[in-house]
């Protein structure tokens, strides 16, 4: 049972939230200008890392606001939550392969 800190309501149980997939994926400004492959990339292709993942959540059973979280998909540790108009926080997270993100 994760505990997520809603930027407006504070820490709440996972059951109050819904996951909304990868964060910071903007809808193309002019979909008609994209070829099929580029449109498919927007429609269906998302990051799926094993490790820190910037993702969207909505506090469905609370203030109904969308927000972002950086969560480690392996340990499930919630590393940060932030409002959707904020940039992804720069978290120095050591990766098993030595790379730092």
């Amino acid at each position: 049972m994760l505990q997520l800190t809603c930027p407006w309501c504070g820490p709440r149980d996972e059951t109050e939230f819904h996951h909304g997939g990868q964060a910071h994926v903007a809808r193309p400004a002019d979909p008609a200008a994209l070829d099929d492959a580029a449109w498919a990339a927007y429609l269906f292709f998302r990051d799926n890392p094993a490790g820190p993942f910037a993702e969207r959540w909505v506090h469905s059973l609370g203030c109904r606001r969308w927000f972002h979280a950086v969560r480690d998909t392996v340990t499930y540790a919630v590393l940060a939550t932030y409002r959707p108009d904020a940039p992804r926080p720069g978290l120095a997270v050591a990766r098993p392969d030595g790379e730092t993100r």
Partner: protein
């Protein structure tokens, strides 16, 4: 429509004896060589089946299966072992029905009792829309040659007397699809049987060997980097289920796959009480009673991405509520052990089997919750793809390309419940 045969509870004798003796020898523990014709990344059921068919069908035995952990230790060891082919669309049905036919001959072919038990599967309908969808699926299945029947509640009660078919339930059972030839098998036995066969053909099964990168030559894959050194290969097949995106990222491309936790559980052993397999999308539970007597239940997919092989408990609680609603007799069975797998879910709940953006690199992934039942067909088609460099007609529709053209094979209805 002829009435379907009702399953019989297998005799107490079978249920109370220990599992059949395994062979005294299963596989070697070889050191990796520097080069193979084909390298299969992932020693789960699909990887092992691919190896088996590469050797037995295509005569390709200069093959290595590279497994990060232990053979059959991923989703193969964690699934609820349901085998059925009553999918909705022609492409999927053909693939799973081919798998079912292979399941029927697999024990003899591998000379291994994988405890494949064709005890039937009921998919319950609880709403009028469930009924429409079920009748649609039965019709499509029958025209595709799949043994599928629509049962009214009294017919369900004959197949599975312990199921609560009271019209006074919160979501009464209005009917069910029934596939008599569906069933279950013992997952570990399947993995070991396939591994033993591959090993006997001379294929190297290399455990504790993680693929850390790919050797490429101008957009062409020529080998893999591993925790045990570089291994060159004519063709490389990725069949790593929940970790597909991680491997694809190492090869420099993305897959339309998200990895989610999927939980399951077993009870302690009980005398035979549940003769078939029951699945319900609407109240979300699927349950069978395994050979030894434990109840095996699957829960729902957790909503978030996760590689942790664990999920949240409220999902299990909700599933137990559904289980007790449908099966009042389970009230005082006990949850003995829970666990989680990592399922790789695609946008249309159908797999991807075929080419990648890199030449000589092929992928078999995106099975979501349906991987176990497809094991032989996944192996068969992926072996064909790796052997010939082109898809088998059965997996041609399951290309990556479909996400660009829009020709999705939407099996959310058939696969909404994990199984």
């Amino acid at each position: 429509m002829a009435p379907p045969p009702a399953p019989r509870i297998e005799g107490n004798r079978r249920m109370s004896t220990p599992l059949p003796e395994h062979p005294a020898h299963l596989w070697r523990t070889p050191e990796p060589r520097s080069s193979y014709d084909v390298v299969i990344v992932g020693g789960g059921g699909h990887g092992l089946a691919t190896a088996h068919y590469l050797a037995s069908v295509h005569g390709i035995t200069n093959v290595a299966v590279l497994e990060k952990g232990w053979l059959g230790g991923g989703n193969m060891a964690r699934n609820t072992t349901i085998i059925r082919s009553n999918y909705l669309w022609d492409e999927t049905t053909a693939l799973y029905e081919y798998a079912l036919k292979l399941w029927e001959t697999l024990p003899a072919e591998l000379d291994y009792d994988v405890m494949f038990s064709q005890r039937g599967v009921l998919n319950l309908a609880h709403t009028l829309q469930d009924v429409r969808d079920s009748v649609r699926r039965v019709g499509a299945n029958r025209l595709n040659g799949v043994d599928s029947h629509w049962l009214e509640p009294d017919g369900i009660a004959e197949v599975c007397p312990i199921l609560n078919t009271s019209p006074r339930s919160r979501y009464p059972v209005l009917g069910a699809t029934y596939q008599p030839h569906a069933g279950i098998a013992k997952h570990d036995h399947v993995a070991w049987a396939l591994a033993r066969s591959a090993d006997a053909y001379g294929i190297d099964l290399i455990q504790g060997c993680e693929v850390t990168g790919f050797v490429t030559d101008g957009g062409r894959v020529t080998g893999v980097e591993t925790s045990r050194g570089r291994i060159l290969a004519g063709r490389v097949g990725l069949t790593v289920a929940g970790h597909s995106s991680v491997l694809a990222e190492r090869a420099g491309f993305r897959l339309p796959v998200q990895s989610h936790p999927l939980q399951a559980l077993v009870s302690e052993l009980h005398e035979p009480v549940h003769p078939t397999v029951v699945m319900s999308n609407h109240v979300h539970v699927y349950v069978s009673q395994a050979h030894k007597g434990e109840l095996v239940l699957g829960a729902g997919v957790d909503g978030y991405n996760g590689y942790g092989q664990r999920g949240a408990f409220h999902i299990i609680e909700r599933q137990m509520a559904a289980a007790v609603e449908l099966f009042p007799v389970f009230a005082r069975a006990h949850v003995l052990r829970t666990w989680g797998g990592i399922v790789d879910v695609t946008p249309d709940a159908s797999p991807v089997i075929g080419a990648t953006p890199l030449e000589n690199l092929f992928v078999n992934c995106g099975w979501g919750t349906g991987g176990f039942k497809a094991t032989p067909a996944a192996g068969w088609t992926f072996a064909h793809t790796l052997a010939t460099g082109a898809p088998h007609p059965l997996n041609a529709p399951f290309s990556l390309d479909r996400f660009t053209t829009g020709a999705l094979i939407d099996e959310h209805g058939a696969a909404a419940v994990a199984h």
